[in-house]
């Protein structure tokens, strides 16, 4: 028994322990749990009840449902309590009051408990606060309803797609309105949507779908084709919907057809406006007066001459774009326009940056001011700017031109006048005063009547009136009375004047004193005709050049020769007829001549029409005005081709000949040197070295004579050079021992050689035996041309030497002189062995063709 008791106690303890655990668990639950007996009185509570009702569990035990919940809550539950006590489990939502009187929605469950006899002994109560949950559900319902209302009302189509299943979950009713297809069609089969899209846009759609499937937001525009064939532009934005199993996307599709059309139209409008303003060079500006920020468009920047970076400005800075001298004026005008009921803003001013040509840049700016309807204050100014530089320039030019006209008219030597549309003279130039000695004012109105010859006044007036009425040009010769010259004939030419708008303004007339003009006009015509006849008659080219170098006239010869037309040749095309190598030298010479105002003379080749170049020499002289200034150039070009050709041929021949002669001389002299060398070897063994020297000196004299001739290309030699060369080896120590005097005379090569050899022999003899053998002697060599100019007489005269003893007649020298001069050259040589010294007189004929040269020079 002891054991049983122990076991029972142990079991009891275990049961108590289990019960306590259960109790703790039940107390920890947030839901209220209780047990109510069949008498509807609470028997058990968990802690949640204490928290809910704010009372201790002990104070609750034994309370009836009605007592704890109150009459109203009990009434709501009454039926459920009855059913629970009859054994049916109950689950319902009902409010449960709180001690502060507030009510919470609760989900209530009654779980019946049967006794051992099978009858219902009571029921468990489980109460859960579902207020929040119900409210959320309520809100959702409301939201759903509101959403459906909205989705049905808005123009956009709202949709939700289940991407995983490829099905629409939701599609708002506006779909049908926009697409023209019932939404159910799409709900059933999404492929109907793809079919509705314009074939050209389907590819973009597929790409969008792929993005949706990756969970990315999309924004697409595509066109749809409605069943009636009309096309709409759709803007479709979708975004992933989180928190769902599978991939969902919600989207908004809207019909943007009209919007796009309006945008395109606006763009087009804007584009057209820009184009128009650009074409019209009209720039726009915009100034927000509240923020003080403004902007010029790109045309305005160009108009103002500003950089792109300067497109933004402020209320304080924009005047910087205006010329400093105009800023105050512009500022005032703008300020006035901003006043309520101020004048319109319209101003012409100069820009701060000059026009492309450096002149002033003129701008016109118009603006309108936008005012705040409430305050009446200006809040924005808009306007345009336009470049009016050209207009201002032409206005200025017009003013200048008028001024110039007046100056020109006044300084004109002709009589000039103007009358108004009524025929009244309103202007007469100063020449009237100079010509008639009357004040120009006296000519105004009908003052002219006073100067016209009384007999012509009426007929002149009638004729002018007749032309005037028909607005025709008027020509008439009229007699006028000059205070000093008496009657003069005036030629009166007048033409109607018209304004820019075509309105008749009157007449302008020029009167010329014909009495003098007729004479000079005739003279000029005649002179010109004479000149042209002459210019075209000569074989040369005749031309006139302007001071600036342009050619203004070429005679017909030029055009005949070159084949150029006057248009091609004048003013500068004549250069094309020059030989390419002559272009630069010719133009340089032409420019230099003009620069220096001196005679221009240059040789050049002109191309004939057939392509042949011929040499010409061009000469031009400046034509000067009375004040000495050059007014033009008179030039001629003369054919020198044949002369030039001959010269060139001659130069070539001379050069060639000179080379040949030089080479020949070299050979001759080398040969002479060889002869000399051979002779030296031959003479080696001969005792007398004198013979060797004599031979050597003779040979060398011959060679020197060759040198003289070579220098002259064997065309002859000057007698002076022949003599000098011959005596040179003997002049040696004392040049004064020879006295040479005679004119320059050209002798033939043959004579030159003979004379050189002869003079050498004479000199050698003089050194050995004659004047030069003593220290005091000297030799005079003189020559002259005979009176008949046919021959030359040369004398060799030794003086101051030892007495002459042995004549020379047997020697080589005398024989050589005699033979060469007498027999070969037709001259003569006479030797006189006077005691004072040898005198040799040589006479030889002068070459016929060179006689005249002997007249020149002298020595």
């Amino acid at each position: 028994v002891q054991r049983d008791v122990t076991a029972a106690r142990r079991a009891e303890a275990a049961a108590r322990e289990s019960d306590r655990h259960l109790r703790e668990l039940v107390d920890a639950l947030p839901m209220m749990i209780s047990y109510v007996g069949a008498d509807e009185r609470y028997q058990l509570f968990n802690a949640a009840y204490e928290r809910w009702f704010g009372r201790s569990a002990a104070s609750l035990v034994g309370l009836s449902l009605r007592e704890l919940l109150g009459e109203e809550a009990y009434a709501v539950r009454h039926d459920n309590i009855r059913a629970a006590l009859s054994g049916a489990e109950q689950r319902f939502v009902a409010f449960t009051p709180r001690p502060d009187g507030s009510r919470r929605q609760t989900e209530v469950r009654y779980l019946p408990r049967r006794g051992e006899n099978g009858a219902v002994a009571g029921f468990y109560v489980l109460v859960e606060d579902v207020t929040e949950q119900l409210q959320a559900e309520e809100r959702l319902r409301e939201s759903e309803a509101r959403f459906r209302q909205l989705a049905g009302a808005i123009d956009q189509v709202f949709y939700v797609t289940d991407l995983t299943r490829g099905q629409l979950v939701y599609l708002s009713p506006s779909f049908e309105r926009i697409w023209g297809i019932p939404g159910e069609v799409l709900m059933r089969d999404l492929s109907a949507f793809f079919e509705s899209v314009h074939p050209d846009d389907r590819a973009a759609l597929i790409a969008g779908k792929a993005a949706q499937e990756r969970g990315e937001p999309t924004e697409r525009e595509y066109r749809i084709v409605r069943p009636d064939g009309s096309i709409r532009q759709i803007r479709d934005r979708s975004f992933p919907v989180p928190g769902h199993v599978g991939m969902r996307a919600a989207g908004l599709a809207e019909d943007v057809t009209e919007q796009r059309r309006r945008e395109a139209a606006a763009r087009e409008q804007d584009h057209r406006l820009r184009l128009a303003t650009r074409v019209a060079r009209i720039g726009t500006w915009d100034l927000d007066l509240e923020t003080g920020q403004g902007q010029w468009d790109d045309v305005a920047l160009r108009v103002m001459g500003l950089e792109p970076a300067q497109s933004r400005y402020t209320a304080a800075s924009w005047l910087n774009a205006v010329h400093p001298d105009d800023r105050e004026r512009v500022r005032m005008a703008f300020a006035a326009a901003l006043q309520p009921d101020g004048p319109p803003y319209e101003i012409e001013c100069r820009g701060a940056s000059p026009a492309a040509d450096g002149g002033p840049r003129w701008i016109v700016s118009h603006g309108s001011v936008e005012t705040d309807p409430q305050t009446g204050r200006a809040r924005r100014a808009l306007g345009i700017v336009r470049d009016i530089t050209e207009r201002r320039r032409s206005e200025e030019r017009l003013r200048e031109s008028e001024e110039r006209f007046r100056v020109a008219a006044d300084s004109s030597p002709a009589l000039m006048w103007m009358c108004d549309a009524d025929g009244q003279v309103m202007f007469a130039n100063r020449q009237y005063r100079r010509f008639f000695g009357v004040d120009t004012d006296a000519m105004l109105g009908d003052g002219w009547r006073k100067i016209v010859h009384p007999e012509d006044v009426n007929s002149f007036h009638d004729a002018f009136r007749a032309s005037f009425a028909r607005r025709e040009a008027f020509h008439r010769t009229v007699r006028v009375l000059h205070p000093e010259l008496g009657v003069r004939w005036l030629n009166c030419d007048a033409s109607p004047r018209h304004g820019a708008n075509g309105a008749f303004l009157g007449y302008v007339g020029v009167n010329i004193d014909l009495t003098a003009a007729i004479v000079s006009a005739d003279a000029l015509r005649e002179s010109e005709a004479r000149f042209r006849t002459l210019a075209n008659g000569v074989p040369n080219f005749v031309w006139f050049g302007k001071p600036n170098g342009e050619i203004e006239y070429l005679n017909d010869r030029w055009f005949d020769y070159t084949g150029q037309s006057p248009d091609a040749a004048l003013p500068n095309g004549w250069v094309a007829a020059l030989h390419p190598d002559d272009v630069q030298p010719t133009l340089r010479a032409w420019a230099e001549a003009r620069e220096r105002g001196r005679l221009y003379e240059v040789e050049m080749r002109y191309r004939r029409a057939d392509g042949v170049f011929r040499w010409y020499v061009a000469r031009a002289e400046p034509m000067r005005a009375a004040d000495g200034g050059i007014v033009g150039w008179f030039g001629t070009s003369t054919d020198i081709h044949d002369r030039k050709e001959a010269e060139q041929t001659f130069e070539r021949l001379v050069t060639h000949q000179s080379l040949l002669i030089n080479e020949l001389n070299h050979r001759v002299k080398n040969t002479l040197a060889t002869v000399q060398a051979v002779a030296m070897q031959t003479f080696r063994d001969i005792e007398s070295q004198d013979a060797r020297r004599v031979f050597e000196s003779r040979l060398i004299a011959l060679a020197k004579a060759h040198d003289v001739l070579t220098r002259e290309n064997w065309q002859g030699a000057d007698l002076v050079a022949v003599v000098e060369e011959a005596i040179a080896p003997h002049r040696g120590i004392d040049p004064e021992r020879f006295c040479v005097a005679g004119p320059s005379v050209r002798v033939t090569p043959r004579m030159a050689l003979s004379l050189a050899m002869s003079l050498h022999e004479l000199a050698t003899n003089a050194v050995k035996y004659g004047a030069l053998s003593s220290s005091s002697g000297h030799v005079r060599i003189e020559w002259g041309v005979s009176d008949s100019r046919r021959s030359v007489v040369l004398t060799w005269c030794e003086e101051g030497g030892p007495p002459v003893a042995s004549p020379l007649h047997k020697g080589f020298g005398s024989r050589l002189i005699e033979r060469q001069l007498t027999r070969e050259l037709g001259g003569s040589a006479r030797m006189d062995f006077a005691p004072s010294g040898l005198i040799c007189r040589i006479e030889f004929p002068l070459p016929v063709e060179q006689e005249h040269e002997a007249k020149e020079g002298g020595r």
Partner: protein
């Protein structure tokens, strides 16, 4: 006038052997030791290597000019006298200061030119 140029070593360049002999004789008579070259190569070799106090050069050696030899000699400060049948124009500007004998020339002309060139005038 014998031995005026005694002890002087002279180079004679001349392609015409008779003339070469003559010049050689003239110089030997004046006391010189003489070496003769008749070809340009030979002249250049001697001008560059031999020891000379004086040189007489014909300008035209079988159609070739002897200036190469002249350059070598002047570079070694050997006085050079040209001998030519051409006029004064027959030598380049750089030799205008050097003496030039016109062929044919007298013995006295050669010796005088040699003395001047050697500074023994």
């Amino acid at each position: 006038m014998t031995a005026i140029l005694a002890g002087c070593r002279a180079l004679v360049v001349e392609d015409e052997s008779a003339i070469a002999m003559m010049i050689e004789d003239m110089l030997i008579e004046a006391g010189c030791e003489v070496e003769v070259a008749s070809q340009l190569e030979q002249a250049v070799a001697l001008a560059g290597a031999g020891r000379f106090d004086l040189a007489v050069l014909d300008i035209n050696l079988h159609g070739r000019e002897s200036f190469e030899a002249a350059d070598l000699l002047t570079a070694r400060n050997v006085p050079v006298i040209f001998a030519s049948g051409y006029g004064q124009s027959g030598r380049p500007a750089r030799y205008q200061h050097l003496p030039m004998l016109q062929k044919p020339f007298a013995c006295e002309e050669l010796i005088s030119a040699a003395r001047t060139a050697l500074g023994r005038a």
